[in-house]
């Protein structure tokens, strides 16, 4: 073996290679790669060394032509070719298209008679008159039917040696051989002959056939068994990649299916819409007719007849009907009972709104009553009672009744459900009870109640009449100085500013020694670090100022947390509260 002088680069199939002729290169300069390379031939390993092949391979490129010897064919002497293949062939102009099978191209029966058959037929025919003679074609037809029927009726004849009975054979012969007479005449002798031949042939098909698989055990070893049925194709082992791809395809398929469903559904929806439109139109037309009739009959109504009310409101409007419809309905009902039904369909907006409002009000009222009942015999004596403490004033004390002018409705009168707004604007009875339900907690305003001057009349000894008086003086007891309170109320919005106002830290004037401030400072939440540790009880959060941890701003809560409605309510509401208690 020669050793390489140069280490070759591996040859890539994509590398462009210069193509040179041998004379274009200095023969001493290049090394042929092939001197010691082993060439894969693809020939069976055991045969590669065969003498003739090696000789032939060596001669490639050489002038000598070494051929591999094979047994030579010869022109057949015994067969008369022209006799065997007499039909001349006419070539069609176009390329041949052909799909008939071999069996279909055979003109005549598929059974080919043997020399033995020929002998039988000859002797058989000698006994017969010219008319009754059986021709070769007819004989083959008989044999074919017999063979076919046998393979049909007894496919395992060769194994279990079943012989199909004459009756069965006779029937199929009569059926398949056109002429009954012919079948009747020859069936029996041909059947007997066929039977004997089959028995001689181990009851196998008379036409020699290749062996197909019959029994697995012997078949594998039998070289004559061929054309086996194929095993079911093995599915390729699924690799991870295949699975991935399959999943992707599945997903894609699913998504496409979803899209299809969407389209189908939207199509359905459009159909339904069309139906709806049709129905609406029909309704409208009916109404138009109704209108016409009304006009003709001189019944005056407004255009409501033509308005399409929303169907889901119907049950409600019907329930409402009696109170609402009574004014008009009674008049009309006499005239036209069916029109009252129309009326049900056409409620007025104002009615609806009123109804809604009533409901709401009723609801609130009930809740208020409930709450009150719930709190009835309950006195909250804790330090900072949540519900307002029912003053345990003697019943006989009566608050002084002062008449105030009613507060005008809030300028931005809206349908907002804020109790605070509603309360002043609607002086009806239920509203009065609303005020106490503003949670006030233990706030300075609680003391407002005490400020109300109240009086008591009692009969003293010997019939003396006493008038006890409680004045606003009680306020002092709550230790809030009048001026402080007023300042409290007046500067309530003092520190308020827009959240996004990012001018430097604003400073506020605070009387640090005031009682209020001191009281508040005690409620100042701990520093944020601590605060975070107990988020659940974050005081800032509790007080509704999560965004303002800075001290000066936090000071507000002590006031405002008392009552959001504080600014407007206290002065005017006082008499109301008093009277209710």
């Amino acid at each position: 073996m020669t050793t390489r002088k140069v280490r070759y680069k591996k040859l890539n199939t994509k590398t462009p290679l210069p193509v040179l002729r041998e004379d274009q290169i200095d023969p001493t300069e290049y090394e042929s790669l092939t001197t010691e390379s082993q060439i894969a031939t693809g020939v069976e390993q055991a045969e590669e060394n065969e003498y003739h092949l090696q000789a032939a391979l060596k001669s490639v490129g050489a002038s000598a032509d070494n051929e591999i010897p094979v047994p030579p064919p010869q022109n057949s002497v015994e067969a008369n070719y022209d006799e065997l293949y007499p039909t001349p062939y006419i070539e069609p102009r176009n390329y041949i298209k052909f799909s008939d099978t071999v069996e279909e191209t055979i003109r005549g029966s598929l059974y080919d008679m043997t020399a033995e058959d020929e002998d039988f037929l000859k002797t058989y025919n000698t006994k017969r008159s010219a008319k009754e003679k059986l021709s070769e074609d007819e004989f083959e037809h008989f044999m074919e039917v017999l063979e076919d029927t046998a393979s049909e009726q007894a496919p395992y004849a060769a194994v279990d040696n079943t012989v199909v009975s004459y009756d069965v054979m006779y029937h199929s012969m009569v059926r398949r051989i056109g002429s009954v007479k012919l079948a009747e005449t020859h069936a029996k002798p041909v059947y007997e002959y066929w039977k004997s031949r089959r028995q001689d042939n181990a009851n196998m098909s008379l036409n020699p056939a290749v062996k197909f698989e019959t029994h697995q055990e012997h078949d594998d070893m039998d070289p004559y068994v061929c054309f086996r049925r194929r095993e079911v194709r093995q599915t390729r082992k699924t690799r991870a990649r295949d699975v991935q791809v399959a999943d992707k395809l599945k997903k894609l398929r699913r998504e496409l299916e979803d899209g299809r469903q969407l389209v189908v559904f939207s199509r359905q929806r459009e159909f339904l819409k069309r139906e709806l439109l049709k129905a609406d139109r029909l309704v409208f037309e009916q109404r138009a007719k109704l209108k016409e009739i009304k006009i003709r009959l001189n019944i005056k109504t407004d255009d409501d007849d033509l308005v399409n009310t929303k169907p889901q409101k119907r049950p409600r409007t019907e329930a409402q009907q009696p109170p609402r419809a009574t004014p008009h309905g009674q008049v009309r009902q006499g005239a036209r009972p069916d029109r009252s039904m129309e009326q049900v369909d056409l409620p007025e907006l104002s009615h609806k709104l009123a109804e809604k409002e009533n409901e709401l009000r009723h609801d609130v009222e009930v809740k208020v009553q409930n709450h009150r009942r719930w709190n009835q015999n309950f006195v909250d004596l804790t330090a900072d009672p949540l519900p307002p403490v029912q003053q345990e004033k003697e019943l006989s004390f009566r608050p002084a009744k002062t008449t105030f002018l009613m507060t005008p409705p809030a300028s931005s009168a809206s349908d907002s459900m804020e109790i605070d707004d509603i309360a002043p604007s609607t002086p009806s009875a239920p509203e009065k009870s609303l005020a106490p339900f503003v949670f006030k907690g233990a706030t300075p305003e609680d003391s407002d109640q005490e400020e109300v001057p109240s009086y008591r009349r009692r009969v003293g000894r010997s019939g003396r009449l006493w008038i006890d008086r409680r004045t606003t003086r009680t306020k002092t007891e709550s230790s809030i100085l009048p001026h402080e309170l007023s300042s409290l109320q007046s500067d309530r919005w003092k520190y308020d500013q827009d959240d996004d106002d990012d001018g430097g830290p604003s400073t506020y004037k605070i009387d640090t020694n005031s009682l209020l401030q001191m009281k508040f400072r005690s409620t100042i939440p701990p520093p944020p670090a601590l605060q975070n540790r107990r988020q659940g009880t974050d005081p800032a959060q509790l007080q509704g100022y999560p965004n303002r941890p800075a001290l000066p701003q936090v000071q507000i809560p002590s006031v405002s947390s008392a009552a959001p409605s504080a600014p407007s309510v206290p002065p005017q509401a006082q008499p109301v509260q008093a009277s209710s208690s």
Partner: protein, 496 residues
């Protein structure tokens, strides 16, 4: 090289020393290796079968390093009884498998291995191992070659058969493994067969019977053909001196009378398929094995007589047959054909390929090969013939490949352009491996000044010029009327 050298050298006996002694015509057994006269020379030959005829005892001999198609029945007078006869190793000569039990076993294993790699897929064309002519010498040869310490091997490599050195290389490297294993487990053959049976993919007939040609003469059209190999025609045909095959429908008859009757009824005058190519010389027909089961089975039986590396184990359904015919006033005569898997997992564009013997050495083989590549070009695929190739197949393909590549390279050379293996492969619809192997075989690859180059030897240019004077025939691609057939999932289910 002289035949004498080849005769003895590469085919040294089996590994173990075989018992040698004199023998007579009566004591000679199946499996013995004796010196037999062949074409005037004495050659080692394995006795595969023995039969008694009126003229005396005859022996079926497989000659050492001759293809099996040259096997023949010889009378005892041609056997040199004055030389020692090698007796079959007793441990391998198990009576249970009948005759001829010897170290063919490992070879069968090889086949089985191949078959297992593609289970259930192939119907044909795996080499029939049992049928391979000379199992023992080659086998041991290749084994010993991988152990260079043996002096004999060294001698071999430096000897006169350099090409043989490369021969141990096989496309399937796995093949070597079981062989080596076999050395240590002499009884693994049965185990191997059992394995194949459960694997359900055996494509070979393991019997020794298939190593022996069973049909002596075939009357086919105006020709008498002498089969080369075993073919599983009905067993009764083995007794016939001559069998008859209809030239058009390829039906087979053991007797003359039914054959003549058949000829009166047979109306076929061309292969039963669609013509997809026609020129004034040949036509091609495409035939679907599923549709034309009878015809294609007949074709396979016929071609098996001339193809060793073909198995009829499975049915013809998964194959398409491209049949080349030549037209006379009698009809389209079968010249040759190639079969092609409808779906080839390995990218093969040819499964089996055959030119009938009466048309051989006339350039039909290269027409078949060219046609197979033209189809691949239409399909837009690279193709390669299924392996293993026969000796004749290898030569035909080598010739076709080298001609095509040479022509292509000369064009490149004239235009002073560079080429690459891939460019050649694409232009010719050949696989890059085939291109590379051909370049190596032609010794055209060179490594020069740090780069790979393709160098066209002067002798080849001359040879090519001379060959061109012969006016060879080619397939005209524009005459092909063909679209790659598409098979639905149901038609691809080969099981019935």
């Amino acid at each position: 090289m002289s035949p004498g050298i080849l005769n003895g050298e590469p085919a040294v006996g089996p590994d173990g020393p075989r018992q040698k002694s004199m023998a007579t015509a009566d004591t000679l057994r199946v499996g013995c290796i004796a010196l037999v006269e062949k074409d005037g020379q004495a050659r080692r030959a394995e006795i595969l079968s023995i039969k008694d005829t009126k003229s005396g005892r005859q022996f079926y001999c497989n000659f050492d390093n001759f293809n099996k198609r040259l096997d023949e029945w010889v009378p005892s007078r041609r056997i040199k009884f004055d030389h020692d006869v090698e007796w079959p190793s007793p441990d391998k000569d198990k009576p249970k498998d009948g005759k001829g039990k010897n170290s063919t076993a490992p070879k069968k294993k090889v086949t089985g291995n191949k078959a297992q790699k593609r289970p259930g897929k192939r119907e044909q064309s795996v080499t029939s191992e049992a049928v391979t002519p000379r199992p023992w010498p080659e086998l041991s040869e290749s084994q010993t070659q991988s152990r260079p310490s043996t002096p004999r091997d060294l001698e071999l490599k430096t000897g006169q058969t350099p090409a043989a050195i490369g021969d141990e290389m096989d496309l399937d490297d796995d093949n070597n493994t079981p062989e080596v294993k076999k050395e240590y487990e002499p009884f693994s053959r049965e185990r191997e067969i059992e394995k194949l049976r459960t694997g359900g993919s055996m494509t070979q007939n393991p019997t020794e019977l298939a190593r022996i040609r069973n049909i002596s003469k075939v009357q086919f059209g105006p020709w008498d053909l002498f089969p080369w190999y075993f073919s599983p025609y009905p067993e009764s045909f083995t007794q016939e001196d001559v069998i008859f095959i209809c030239e058009f429908c390829l039906s087979y008859y053991g007797e003359k009378k039914p054959f003549c009757r058949h000829r009166q009824k047979c109306s076929l005058q061309h292969p039963p398929g669609n013509e997809i190519y026609r020129d004034d010389y040949v036509s091609f027909f495409e035939i679907d094995g599923r549709r034309q089961r009878t015809w294609c089975r007949n074709l396979c039986l016929l071609s098996k007589m001339f193809l060793d590396h073909k198995t009829l184990y499975y049915d013809v359904d998964p194959f398409l047959f491209y049949v080349m015919t030549q037209k006379t006033e009698k009809g389209h005569h079968l010249v040759g054909y190639f079969s092609k898997e409808k779906e080839s997992a390995d990218g093969y564009n040819v499964a089996c390929i055959l030119t009938l013997p009466q048309y051989q050495r006339k350039g039909f083989g290269r027409l078949l090969i060219q046609f197979s590549y033209e189809l691949s070009k239409i399909e837009g695929k690279l193709g390669s013939p299924e392996k293993p190739l026969s000796d004749l197949g290898l030569l035909s393909y080598r010739q076709y490949w080298s001609e095509m590549i040479l022509d292509l390279l000369l064009e490149y050379n004239e235009r002073d352009e560079k080429s690459s293996i891939e460019a050649i492969s694409t232009a010719l619809a050949m696989t890059t491996q085939d291109v590379e192997h051909t370049l190596q075989a032609l010794k055209m690859q060179a490594y020069h000044k740090g780069e790979h180059k393709l160098v066209i030897p002067e002798s080849m240019i001359k040879q090519r010029g001379m060959a061109k004077l012969k006016q060879k025939r080619y397939i005209a691609p524009e005459r092909i009327q063909w679209k790659a057939p598409v098979f639905t999932a149901s038609t691809r289910t080969w099981g019935w």
